[in-house]
């Protein structure tokens, strides 16, 4: 639940979650186990094809939603079911309270339904004097504790057996044991009684199949079966987005939903209800069934060209499972009612700006959610867009406005960076780290040492070092990005040395600016667009085969975001496509294009481990190239655990949420140290800044270098 009044209070709440040792351990274990289970569950399947098909089957616009609804309604009503349309949460709750009233009901049992959480149905029923009992074990536990779910599939994952023991002792009036199997059995018996007493069973639905008027329920415990059987009235509350044209569409989602949610091939039970089934306790021998479809903004979403894709979500919860922020703070902080990446988006649309204003910023943009989504939703992009909408409503914060102003004017930006070099002089130590942070940084940043601005930026070095390559096999234009230009020019120099040794001619267009990702991340769309155009222009005159960058974030942004940013400018289409097609990251260029050979290198016996930048492994889907390069260049590669998990940098994220950034970094450092390697290599200067600074602050001996430096370092010297 989101109740923080501002970002500061929200950060405080996140810190409390960080301090919860049990939660941290549970979510850490889960994050690792989930990956392994999921991989196994999808073994031998064409997952990408499946995801594409699921996404295609859930493409809605307002009129298709209505059409499906009326098709479903006609089918279901022909078989004795009452079908309702509720325009919002209040109306859905009113309809259900009315059903209770009309049927003389006083007791309701519920199977798990996120849609009922969305409408806060329990409160409405209780206000109407009705006793409500949740029957999903996890939901029952959190109901008894007066909490909301902390995960869409495992609502009580934040609680320990001891907390459940205590709770059940209260509920039964008898001392319980902390034995999980016994606690489960106690719940079985306690809830069995509730099932038998209830007048109404409320469920959700995972599918509403229009061609047959059938709903499908995907559960493990079997409570949805009892809830839809024992009480004389069955009410299913269903998001409009659960409508599907055919049974085939539902069976397809069923192949991906349990596998992606928990690594199960299928859940214990899948229940298909079509029409009013037998119910001997009703006078006509038929069950009274109501299917209540909830709009609550879904039709509006369906009309939005970008956000309509949100409706393809199948609610598997995987975007939370892989979210490094969720792993740190759990679902109560990384969500309002809906949790994880999809929760950040849905909170804004279903529960409003006030609930979303802090939450929506808590995305590190590592793209792990997009990578895992069962419906292929570009969640990070939508979160970014939500941030923009919120800032447009509430006003852009001063740092974002300032940054966008500065970055839009490249010369001013570069002058500022050059000035900063002098300003930091009294605080720069010999090793190139800042001894004391200048005032512009916050005290929460003391978990990492920050680098100083380099004495001479790469753009000033270039005229001196630009190599002459007489008969080049390739021509490349270099894109340095701000960090390698002004902080780590030596990384660029290393690449230049390696490229020259491979007969690559190079140019460095001086008109290039920051790639624009930082302002895009801060939701400054206009500045982002202006920078995009500027960079494309800067490279337009270059005769080159590739545009190479050593920064994975720049590469991913130039390659994938530029065409999207300029989508509304068809006159730029040709130019942006040509530009983006040429962009390539360093490791892919060296491995796939230059195809360097072991003969070019000599081993110095160095052992290395690797950190895969988010924007390399997910943003560009590059996995093999850097790992192969380590072998080819004679380095001893020692893999570390979770190489593809974010280091916590996330650009401006680490300034917004330093506490979370720090914890992510700590995991990264621990995993890298455990590999026993003396050096960590990576492909992104931002990650280097974060990880190198972390090791330095910790006093560790592990070195952190760019892949380019390691390769250039192992190049055989010419005789």
């Amino acid at each position: 639940m989101q109740d923080a009044k501002d970002l500061k209070e929200y950060r405080g709440q996140c810190q409390q979650a960080l301090d919860n040792e049990f939660l941290r351990q549970t979510l850490d274990k889960f994050a690792v186990a989930y990956r392994a289970g999921r991989d196994k569950a999808f073994e031998g399947m064409d997952l990408e094809k499946l995801i594409r098909e699921v996404a295609a089957s859930k493409e809605f616009d307002p009129s298709s939603l209505r059409k499906l609804f009326f098709e479903f309604k006609a089918k279901a009503e022909a078989d004795g079911v009452h079908v309702h349309w509720a325009k919002d949460a209040d109306e859905a709750n009113r309809i259900i309270c009315q059903i209770a009233d009309d049927s003389g009901s006083t007791k309701v049992i519920k199977a798990k339904s996120m849609t009922a959480e969305e409408t806060l149905l329990n409160h409405a029923l209780e206000d109407a004097g009705i006793e409500v009992t949740e029957t999903d074990l996890g939901e029952w536990i959190i109901q008894l504790r007066h909490e909301g779910p902390s995960h869409m599939v495992m609502p009580a994952i934040h609680l320990s057996r001891f907390q459940v023991e205590e709770l059940f002792t209260d509920v039964t009036g008898k001392q319980q044991s902390p034995d999980i199997e016994q606690l489960v059995k106690v719940a079985r018996r306690e809830l069995r009684q509730k099932f038998l007493e209830a007048d109404i069973g409320v469920t959700g639905a995972n599918f509403a199949v229009a061609e047959t008027g059938t709903i499908g329920l995907v559960t493990n415990e079997g409570n949805a079966r009892l809830a839809s059987t024992l009480p004389r009235v069955h009410v299913a509350l269903i998001g409009l987005d659960k409508l599907l044209p055919t049974l085939h569409d539902a069976l397809r989602i069923l192949k991906v939903l349990p596998r992606n949610a928990t690594g199960q091939l299928i859940t214990s039970y899948v229940t298909w209800i079509s029409g009013a089934n037998t119910c001997p306790v009703n006078p006509d021998g038929k069950k009274e069934i109501h299917f209540v479809f909830l709009d609550n903004g879904r039709t509006e979403l369906a009309a939005d060209p970008l956000f309509s894709k949100v409706l393809s979500c199948v609610r598997c919860g995987a975007c939370a499972n892989v979210c490094p922020v969720y792993r740190m703070v759990g679902g109560h902080k990384m969500g309002h009612i809906y949790i994880g990446a999809i929760g950040l988006i849905l909170t804004y649309f279903f529960h409003g700006t006030d609930k979303a204003k802090n939450l929506a910023h808590n995305c590190i943009n590592c793209e792990a959610c997009r990578d895992i989504c069962a419906a292929g939703i570009d969640l990070p992009r939508m979160i970014k867009e939500v941030q923009v909408r919120i800032m447009d409503e509430l006003g852009h914060p001063a740092p974002a406005v300032l940054m966008s102003k500065v970055l839009k004017n490249r010369k001013l930006f570069h002058r500022l960076l050059r000035t900063a070099k002098w300003a930091q002089k009294p605080v720069t130590a010999k090793d190139g780290f800042l001894r004391h942070l200048p005032m512009i940084f916050f005290k929460e940043h003391d978990f990492k040492a920050l680098p100083a601005i380099a004495a001479k930026p790469f753009r000033d070095l270039w005229p001196e070092i630009a190599p002459q390559v007489p008969e080049p096999r390739l021509r490349v234009a270099l894109f340095s990005g701000c960090v390698q230009d002004f902080v780590y020019p030596e990384q660029m120099q290393a690449a230049v040395e390696l490229f020259a040794a491979n007969q690559v001619a190079m140019s460095f267009p001086m008109g290039q600016n920051c790639c624009g990702l930082p302002v895009q991340m801060m939701g400054e769309k206009e500045a982002s667009l202006s920078i995009t155009r500027e960079n494309i222009k800067a490279f337009s005159g270059e005769e080159c085969d590739y545009i190479v960058t050593l920064c994975a974030s720049c590469a991913s942004h130039l390659k994938h975001s530029y065409p999207k940013l300029l989508a509304e400018y068809p006159e730029m289409d040709e130019e942006v496509r040509r530009f983006s097609a040429k962009v390539i990251d360093f490791s892919s260029f060296v491995h796939d294009v230059l195809k360097v050979e072991p003969e070019q290198f000599e081993s110095r016996g160095e052992s290395v481990t690797y950190h895969a930048p988010c924007h390399l492994c997910r943003g560009l889907d590059v996995h093999e190239a850097p790992r192969k390069l380590m072998e080819i260049s004679g380095l001893e590669y020692r893999p570390s655990a979770e190489e593809e998990v974010c280091c916590g940098f996330g650009g401006t994220y680490s300034a917004k949420f330093p506490e979370l950034s720090k914890e992510l970094l700590n995991n990264k450092l621990a995993n890298a140290e455990a590999s026993g390697a003396s050096t960590l290599l990576t492909d992104c200067p931002g990650c280097i800044m974060q990880i190198r600074g972390g090791f330095k602050a910790k006093g560790s001996k592990v070195q952190v270098n760019h892949m380019a430096e390691a390769l250039a370092g192992n190049l055989k010297k010419k005789q």
């Binding site: 889960f30 074990l137 018996r189 009892l226 059987t229 091939l265 039970y269 298909w272």
Partner: protein
């Protein structure tokens, strides 16, 4: 290996992976033998149902008291098979039940059913549960024993799409996919079987 054997082998592997017990029987009589032996041998047929030995609230404890016999529930059987089973239950002093399942909300020891189909990909039983008594027998039982004719095992859920779709268009249809026992991992992600439904699922692959 014949296609059918391959499917049955895959079905068995997948069902066993989710803790179902799979056995082969050559006839319906053998299926009844299995059922009655299971009831006789296993502690499922103690009178008290699972959880009733634990510290419960008064109301939940009182519900436990309503079960006073060992019960096999088998609604929806063909008349001849039903008669045979009822007779054999009487011989072994098990209470045989094929209707009014609602009177047995406290629980029954074994629910005995037939599946329409098996899905090899996931080890799933497909059971038309439109008959409420049959449905409750698969929910309120401690053990669920289900007979699956080998000829009805298909590779994939898509293979029974047509059959399912026709079934769903029958009046008041309630179809269940059942895979393994009822399970939860809601406390500390520790797997526990039998939270609301059966604690064990036994699948009898019938040669046909």
């Amino acid at each position: 290996m014949k296609q059918r054997d391959r499917l049955c082998e895959q079905f068995t592997r997948k069902a066993e992976a989710v803790s179902a017990v799979v056995a082969t029987v050559n006839s319906q009589d053998q299926a009844l033998d299995y059922l009655l032996t299971l009831c006789d041998a296993k502690e499922a047929c103690r009178i008290q149902v699972s959880g009733c030995e634990l510290p419960l609230s008064e109301g939940a404890g009182a519900l436990c008291e309503t079960k006073r016999e060992k019960i096999i529930a088998a609604p929806g059987l063909e008349p001849a098979l039903k008669d045979t089973l009822a007779k054999r239950c009487a011989e072994q002093h098990f209470f045989f039940l094929d209707r009014e399942m609602r009177e047995h909300g406290a629980g029954v020891d074994i629910g005995f059913t037939f599946a329409q189909a098996g899905i090899a990909e996931t080890g799933t039983l497909v059971i038309d549960s439109s008959n409420e008594d049959l449905r409750l027998a698969t929910m309120l039982s401690e053990y669920h024993v289900c007979v699956l004719p080998k000829s009805q095992v298909v590779a994939d859920s898509y293979d029974i799409e047509g059959q399912l779709s026709r079934q769903m268009q029958q009046p008041g249809n309630y179809t269940a996919f059942i895979t393994g026992a009822s399970r939860t991992a809601d406390i500390e992600r520790v797997l526990a079987l039998g939270v609301h439904g059966p604690l064990e699922l036994h699948i009898l692959l019938l040669e046909d």
